[in-house]
Subunit: 107 residues, 2 copies
Amino acid sequence: MKKELPLCPVETTLTLIGDKWKVLILRDLINGTKRFGELKKSIGSISQKVLTQQLRSMEEDGLVERKVYAEVPPRVEYSLTETGSSLKPILDSMCIWGEKYKEQING
Amino acid sequence: MKKELPLCPVETTLTLIGDKWKVLILRDLINGTKRFGELKKSIGSISQKVLTQQLRSMEEDGLVERKVYAEVPPRVEYSLTETGSSLKPILDSMCIWGEKYKEQING
DNA sequence: CCGCATCCAAATGGATACTG
DNA sequence: CAGTATCCATTTGGATGCGG
């Protein structure tokens, strides 16, 4: 099921990262490789099913790399691709803006 | 119904603008004040109900200003607040990133 | 440990009809 | 023109149980 890209580039970006879970995953992986279980624990309220879905989707989009180790018990590690890492400045901007906004609200 | 802000600032920002429709509305309004009908026509595939919902939500969040003129037929104009305008750099970054991404894919 | 399959509840969005 | 109200189809996500 190939996603087709929207006409507007802003929308393209949003389609890829504009999701509550995806940004949280990105922020986690920016600090380095993590295992599935670590991600799940770190994000907290996400269900296993949804986390899997999001990771698969981001993998398809070329933002995340998935590495499976043939061990028992199994180990699966996720990391950002170069494309994924290139989103960092945007995430940082969003972070800064979000903080300012919060200040405005709370006075 | 007051929304409570998420813990992570990135998420805060995303809660406010991370929506297919909201970014499109923002991009439209960045170029100046628009009437309801203009927005609807410009965005195209959005339904009246959803456009109203999104605008109301953005108004509550302090991103958009709504101005009603006591005329017949009625005229309602929407514009960005200062807070809303301050999102422009982020939207621009997203736009640029989206274009690069598209090139990579179609490459 | 990681993830798939299934079932089910809730939220979302479109279509339509009606109003000041 | 710019909404509101209602109904309904689709999507989404949580919970649970099973499997490599």
